[in-house]
């Protein structure tokens, strides 16, 4: 049973439950009122309606699993950072489970804090920017399947979102725009510089990253997650496209904005960068979304280069996928805490002079391998 069938069953049961009410009302009420409720019952029993709500439920389930994973990610980041820095990391809140509840405690703390909006800020955009940032990241997340059975599917046979990888990258790339909006609307010089940096940074990493993705598309012959992961049945793309793998990880670090490429929120020079004027749960959502984006990044690397959910049998494929995503995340955290931050002109140099030629070279390698008929 895949996620679609599971959700379809639940929605179908719910619709049947409510249809009892609608059809009873249709029988009891006189004249047009009865007809109306009968029509409501007919509409809700129609397949289009059930499929619509099924997909909503699927997205909800995928997001719940993802957010639980994100809590794990924050915990792993703190624990790993602590071990790197010679301290314990979170410890007291939930000490029997290794301080895992610290994230929840922080969330509660941020919830009860006051949300302050600067008086001279552009109120609408100040609200809109964070919303775009959070929602676009959630949308990107909802397209990623953990296995053929656990992902947002559109019919019983479990076909995923058409061109799912492209959709994921499209949503993933919206964030710099919202950062620019937030930075400008806060009416603060630091946030403005942070937003501008984000725009400049996007220019440098987005193109090499998509070229790496293009090489994966070329080898797998598919835009969807099922096709891409299915093509890695024999060999992970990280091995033939080792160059692209490295370039992709470097670009990904810039995309999820962690050190050494966290220029938009470089806290040493720009206070807190584009989030300087954020406070309370608005800032908490930003923090969570940053880790959420790390999760998306880890999942994308796993799906595109590390064979996705393929793995030896007794362990479920969802677990394989998550284990790989966690390992990628730990590598990102490792890089993050052991490198200084680069400068804004240096990231442009790295992007245009180093990563872009390497990505093109990687694409050529992919073309050569495809032409040779190896894939």
């Amino acid at each position: 049973m895949n996620l679609f069938q599971f959700s379809y069953g639940i929605i179908h049961w719910l619709v049947d439950l409510f249809n009892n009410l609608w059809y009873w009302l249709g029988d009891v009420l006189p004249w047009r009122f009865g007809d109306f409720f009968t029509a409501v019952g007919d509409f809700s029993a129609s397949r289009e309606n059930i499929v619509f709500f099924t997909i909503l439920l699927e997205v909800l389930l995928v997001l719940i699993v993802a957010v639980i994973n994100v809590l794990n990610f924050i915990w792993i980041d703190r624990k790993f950072m602590g071990r790197m820095f010679d301290f314990y990391g979170p410890y007291y809140v939930g000490y029997r489970i290794g301080g895992w509840l610290q994230n929840i405690a922080d969330g509660i703390k941020l919830f009860v804090k006051e949300i302050i909006t600067p008086r001279k800020a552009d109120q609408l955009v100040f609200l809109l920017g964070p919303s775009i940032f959070v929602s676009s990241s959630f949308l990107a997340l909802s397209t990623i399947p953990l296995s053929p059975d656990f992902g947002v599917a559109t019919n019983e046979s479990g076909d995923g979102v058409p061109a799912g990888v492209l959709v994921a990258f499209a949503f993933f790339a919206i964030a710099p725009f919202s950062i620019l909006l937030t930075g400008w609307s806060s009416n603060n010089k630091y946030t403005l510089i942070g937003g501008m940096r984000s725009a400049a940074q996007m220019m440098s990493y987005e193109i090499p990253m998509l070229l790496c993705v293009a090489s994966v598309f070329l080898l797998s012959g598919s835009f969807g997650f099922e096709g891409v992961v299915g093509a890695q049945d024999d060999i992970w793309f990280a091995i033939p496209l080792a160059l692209g793998f490295v370039v992709f990880i470097a670009c990904l670090i810039a995309e999820v904005e962690v050190q050494p490429f966290d220029l938009p929120e470089a806290e040493a020079e720009l206070v807190e960068g584009w989030t300087t004027e954020m406070c309370g749960m608005r800032f908490g959502l930003f923090m969570m979304t940053t880790y959420l984006r790390s999760y998306i990044g880890g999942a994308l690397v796993t799906a595109l280069f590390l064979g996705g959910w393929h793995g030896p049998e007794p362990i479920p494929s969802e677990i394989w996928f998550l284990v790989k995503a966690y390992i990628v995340f730990v590598v990102i955290v490792w890089i993050r805490w052991s490198l200084p931050r680069v400068r804004v002109d240096q990231i442009l140099n790295i992007g245009w002079k180093r990563l872009l030629p390497l990505a093109v070279l990687n694409l050529l390698i992919a073309v050569a391998m495809k032409t040779a008929g190896w894939f």
Binding site: K189, I193, A268, E269, W337, P340, R341, V342
Partner: protein, 360 residues
């Protein structure tokens, strides 16, 4: 973006204290800079006039939170110069040992702050951890961790505790090992070199004209170290080399400090080997004679100087303090203009600002 002024400070992660750096940026490029200090003025020079000579020692400790030992030592040196007191040799050795430990602790604190400026959190926590080793040593020696109140006019407050020489030697060999690890962590990182090489050029002439002293001056290619060039205390008897570099950039200043830590380990070893027996303190007279006393030392941040005027009573008539950073910070516009906003933290970080002594 049009040109605009940005206030980096008084509350800003870059400042490491309480001062304001106003920079005028064109996009991200700095076209003008204006450091403003004075937010932390506590009137220490005036306060000293109302206190007796020994009472000023704790006050001199509070001049700099990073290296308080040098300042109280400098004050004692100055008053001894005024009173014409000969300090027993054991006290001199204890003082030099404590000062060099303080120099390592101060440079490690600088290294930690510099790392966090550049976004290298690991370096911050590693350096702070190893600073603890020397802070603990100084605590064993003096009884407190940051403001020691250890030197006295005519000697030091206590002798070494038992086994202190063994612990100090161990700490030195530990530190030399750790310094190699730091070099792997910092110099071995390509990004660190990208952020440091060729950044914040301070030409030799500019450095000399602006009165810059200490590691920034030695990083600019001037071999000027008061411990060698104007020796005080027992430095002539010790074997060490002042370190200098000719690159004039942030990386040169970083290297100077790193190598000074090696030299300080060497000096600590020698002081412990050569430590003479005997008294560690002579009792000074209560009143100072009429006249002036002057003292100059090589602080971890540059040249510290004190000038005291005695009027025959038990209180100084006037105490003048020359702070190295107060002078060095005036070279900031020379270094900053033309670089990016992100370089501000590297350049100002490489000066090792300590606002306590800057504003006095």
């Amino acid at each position: 973006m049009a040109e605009m002024w940005i206030n980096m400070g008084p509350q800003h992660p870059m400042t490491h204290g309480l001062w304001n750096l106003r920079i005028k940026v064109d996009g991200e490029t700095i076209v003008d800079a204006e450091p403003e200090v004075g937010y932390l003025h506590r009137g220490i020079e005036k306060l000293a006039e109302g206190k007796t000579y020994p009472e000023v020692i704790p006050l001199a400790d509070r001049l700099c939170y990073g290296s308080s030992m040098t300042w109280s030592h400098l004050y004692c040196l100055t008053v001894e110069n005024l009173m014409g007191i000969e300090v027993p040799p054991r006290a001199e050795y204890l003082r030099v040992m404590a000062i060099e430990m303080q120099r390592i602790a101060s440079h490690l604190m600088w290294l930690a702050a510099y790392a966090v400026d550049l976004g290298l959190m690991t370096g911050f926590l590693y350096a702070m951890r190893d600073r603890e080793v020397f802070i603990d040593l100084l605590q064993a020696l003096t009884g407190s961790r940051l403001t020691y109140n250890y030197p006295r006019i005519g000697g030091v407050a206590h002798d070494m505790p038992p086994n202190f020489d063994r612990d100090a030697l161990r700490a030195c060999s530990y530190m030399e090992k750790r310094l190699k690890e730091y070099e792997d962590l910092y110099d071995g990182s390509k990004v660190f070199m990208l952020r440091n090489e060729g950044i914040g050029l301070l030409k030799k002439e500019d450095a000399m004209n602006l009165g810059v002293t200490g590691p920034p001056l030695r990083g600019s290619g001037v071999r000027y170290d008061l411990r060698k060039d104007m020796p005080y205390s027992i430095y002539p008897e010790l074997d060490f080399e002042p370190k200098w570099h000719t690159d004039c950039d942030c990386y040169a200043r970083y290297r100077v400090r790193m190598e000074e830590m090696y030299e300080s380990c060497k000096i600590i070893r020698q002081t412990i080997e050569k430590m003479p027996a005997g008294k560690w303190r002579v009792v000074p007279p209560r009143n100072a004679p009429e006249g002036t006393g002057i003292g100059r030392v090589e602080d971890p941040r540059g040249e510290g100087m004190m000038y005291v005027v005695g009027d025959g009573t038990d209180r100084p008539y006037r105490l003048k303090i020359r702070s190295p950073i107060f002078v060095t910070v005036s070279a900031a516009p020379k270094m900053l203009i033309g670089y990016k906003v992100a370089d501000v933290v590297a350049i100002m970080g490489s000066l090792d600002m300590c606002i306590g002594e800057t504003d006095r």
